[in-house]
Symmetry: none
Subunit: 414 residues, 2 copies
């Protein structure tokens, strides 16, 4: 089954709000094995809405709409949908009664334009709204289906789970299972090159690569008759992916690298402390976003000034003078000082140029030195500048590298 | 001028990522006075992409696309766009040279599929990419324009500002000027109530409120013949807004509260140190995201364990035992210990329950105590739990409150 997610509303077109409903519905439809071919957003305009519906039905059997069910005059989704499937609106008394009860329960009075919300296409399957006034509905004709939901996300989600899932059960054959393999340190195009025959040759499971700054993901998905079969096919393919690019993989489960590291530390009872200059506390912030990490995270020290590096970490003034604050020597003294002070099993340090100012010929903006000390051994990783000198991205690259270096040390790969 | 925002990419259709690019482009187009009639998202499919382009051009003169410019085989936006406007792709040597320089600077090698990214429609106006490999471009024919941008948001934004704005200048009549007034500590609906007559009564300047967790913004925009007229109208309206809700405003310029604080500290040469428990280093990370802050930011201490609070900040064991680590007493000892240790002019501390676990009957999850010490005076602010107990939102609320408390102290309001 193929589908479209159609959002009706000017607030999306103004950019005032981000269309999270479309992402939610896409995920839900995928989970049912229903392909999503389009997202469309249209204002409250009858002709354009109708054009889009007609376009969607060239490829799709199902259109899921959100928004445009409100009480005001410009809310015309229902009229247009009914017309597209050869129906007209009639008053749906149970919806009107439910609406009156809800409004009066809140101590308000029905307004005439509320009544408009209780009109539904005559052949519609109504979806009562447990969280708001506007009912949703599904309407079918000749194998084409339109399902209409209200725009507020909590109303949509509640109605989807209570009403849409049972309604759609009869149309869903097969089950989709997917996993997200996450890599660091290999670009998207190099990753794809290594997986090209798997990507090109496969219809199921399918592989697709996605890039974010510093990270490249591979989504492995399978649609089979049963969940077990789909899972087995995905696991098998993940094995092949690991054979080729396993060195770069930090999660086969879509997790953030910081979560992977934090959970590993919690599982193995390895304590951690961090000394940050360039990243200004963000690494500690990332690691502590995982709940339960307080069992193993001891402390973080953000040493922005030379004075702080000397006082807090025992970095020597001589080293700072001879080698500059951004140097492998300082990264090493930072992490060794931290290890001595805290006794934590795993210690990390970072010093670098986040930019836009600063940097030297030898160490341009984007350069970072990352110290890592584990089981009495210290290494310093030299991170070269990335493809841009944006402060946020430079700091982000350093953060990802810190986590990657730490995982490498724990795994005995560094 | 009427426009469409067209996103190309299966990751949006899968719901793996939310389409923030569409919201950004909508806002940008609105600022230029260009109406947005549609948002569309299509996968990498030539025929469906073409169908959507044809549909858009029934109503619109301008289509702005993002995504589908990648190096991989399924990236076919350029081919389809060129065909829709009667053009074909040719190798654009300057783009290829720039791409090679960028890739080699990073110590990587061009792959054959990178070369694909340097092909552009023969009549295109190229948009060099300052943040990545794929160039964008604009292509026109018979009054119809398609502008293509890469999908990664930072590449899109950089290219939009550097390339698209100058390119579009000739199509825009009248000038839009806008300012974003940012508030903290007043909800969106209370804010709207206080500004309701200004919002309802005005056609120009227009006011619109936007809410994010903890923050409510007011966008004041004017479209006039000249920039001077538009600016004057906006400034005048901002004056009215300040008269009503000025106590809650921390920026009339769309700045983050952390930037406002950091710039204030830099301007006045006020040194800062921070001791964080609940927020795990994120406050230091936020403050150090402002370039130049190294002149005033001394250090941050992330004391997650009691041991760290005692060692690093001199919190007394007795206080931790009697009052619990999350208490006003501990927040006070943390900040006073930090001030004593560092001698920084302004010191902040925070201790609280981020959740999901933890919390007590007296201090449920979401509670935080924020210590602030300035010019020898220390206060402790008690932050009550918010409307949810999500770890990320709780930490974020604490971060915003820390910045707000610090600004209040500097202003003598606390």
């Amino acid at each position: 089954m193929k589908s479209t997610v159609l959002t009706v509303g000017t607030e999306i077109l103004f950019g005032s709000i981000v269309n999270t409903n479309a992402a939610y519905l896409s995920q839900q439809l995928q989970l049912l094995g229903i392909d999503v071919m389009y997202h469309h957003t249209v204002g409250d305009n009858d002709r354009r809405l109708r054009d889009v519906i007609d376009l969607c039905f060239r490829d799709c059997d199902l259109i899921v709409t959100t928004g445009g069910l409100g009480p005001t005059e410009d809310d015309l989704t229902k009229e247009t949908v009914a017309a597209a499937l050869g129906d007209t609106l009639v008053l749906h008394q149970p919806s009107l009664d439910a609406m009156r009860a809800r409004i009066e329960m809140n101590g308000r009075k029905m307004t005439p334009n509320n009544v408009k919300q209780a009109y539904l296409p005559s052949r519609a399957t109504p979806f009562p709204n447990a969280c708001g006034t506007a009912p949703g509905f599904a309407l079918e004709r000749d194998g084409k289906i339109i399902m209409c939901f209200p725009g507020p996300p909590h109303e949509l989600k509640d109605m989807w789970e209570r009403q849409a899932l049972p309604y759609l059960a009869k149309y869903v054959d097969g089950v989709i299972y997917h996993r997200m393999v996450r890599t660091f340190g290999i670009g998207e195009s190099a990753l794809e090159t290594k997986l090209l025959d798997l990507i090109d040759g496969q219809t199921d499971p399918t592989l697709a690569t996605y890039a974010k700054p510093g990270i490249a993901d591979v989504r492995v998905a399978s649609k089979r008759k049963t969940l077990e079969e789909a899972k087995a096919a995905v696991e098998d393919m993940i094995g092949k992916v690991m054979d080729r690019v396993g060195d770069y993989v930090y999660s086969t489960d879509g997790e953030e690298i910081y979560d992977v590291l934090a959970k590993r530390l919690i599982r193995d009872g390895i304590t951690l402390s961090v000394a940050e200059s360039m990243t200004g506390g963000l690494f500690a912030g990332k690691i502590t976003s995982t709940s339960g990490v307080s069992a193993v995270f001891d402390r973080g020290i953000v040493t922005y000034t030379n004075r702080a590096k000397i006082d807090e970490l025992g970095v020597s003034e001589g080293t700072l003078e001879t080698h500059d604050a951004v140097s492998p020597e300082v990264a090493k003294e930072m992490v060794e000082g931290l290890a001595k002070k805290t006794g934590s099993d795993l210690c990390l340090s970072v010093t670098g140029y986040a930019g836009p100012g600063g940097g030297t010929e030898e160490c341009p903006v984007g350069t970072a030195f990352i110290g890592c000390s584990y089981k009495g051994r210290t290494i310093v990783h030299h991170l070269l500048p990335g493809p841009n000198d944006n402060r946020e991205l430079n700091r982000n690259r350093a953060l990802l590298t810190m986590a990657s270096v730490a995982l490498g040390m724990l795994d005995g790969k560094r």
